[in-house]
Symmetry: C2
Subunit: 119 residues, 2 copies
DNA sequence: ATTCAACCTGGAGCGCGCTCCAGGTCAAGC
DNA sequence: GCTTGACCTGGAGCGCGCTCCAGGTTGAAT
């Protein structure tokens, strides 16, 4: 149950300190606890949230959807909506994977063609 | 061996007319033939180039690499370099696919967890 | 007590990849 | 001949997702 400074949170989450502040400002991350002096103290729970947000982000979820997910996570009566949002994103990821495979195949064809015509 | 107006080229390639001009300005696409009056006339060859560029672009190749590929295509003695560039990109696409699969798995886990804890 | 790095805020700036605009030209149809 | 819409150029502007900055505060170490 220890806490983390912004620099530690940045290192562990892979987001920059600036991005952590930005996510909080944007309402993606819930307001983080503070010391008496006003410094942020990230909890283990904040870090695991950030870890999953990073996964969603890197999987191409736009900021706006990320914010929506963050909002839902602050209301305990939204499990169904969260599942729906994640399912939707899973479909988007599947489509992206399929697309990439097709592109990948075309690149291979092109390489083969170059090798045939000049190699 | 017919030619296409900018509007037709845009429709067939899926790029906007503005983007076609932009790609030409940026040296991604070789200078397109013109009518006496200065209007662009895209050839079938331009269109097939655009089609492949679209594939590369949608597969995440940044503009800078796209330009490099475009440049190489204007010099007939660069087949080996083109192959190298495409191979490199193929690896990048493979990595992206792997990453996406991992993210996809985590999203599934999260969904399962939500369903277990609330559904 | 002093230093100094890490932190704070609000707001401006940036890089990418287009996209749009002003002001003018060209050419098909009437 | 005139209209009209697609086209031309150079350059400004935009949306996203951060990233950086100025100017000030905090607090651990010396």
């Amino acid at each position: 149950m220890r806490t983390y400074t912004p620099a530690e949170a940045a290192e562990r989450s892979g987001f920059s300190v600036d991005t952590l502040r930005y996510y909080e400002r944007e309402g993606i991350l819930a307001p983080v606890a503070r010391t008496a002096g006003g410094r942020r103290t990230y909890s283990d729970s904040d870090l695991s949230t950030l870890d999953f947000l990073r996964c969603l982000r890197d999987a191409g979820m736009p900021i706006e959807r990320l914010r929506r997910y963050g909002e839902l996570c602050r209301d305990p009566n939204t499990i169904a909506e969260r599942i729906a949002l994640l399912r939707e994103h899973a479909v988007a990821v599947d489509n992206q994977i399929d697309q990439l495979r097709r592109y990948r195949a075309r690149v291979d064809e092109k390489i083969a063609w170059y090798e045939g015509s000049a190699g």
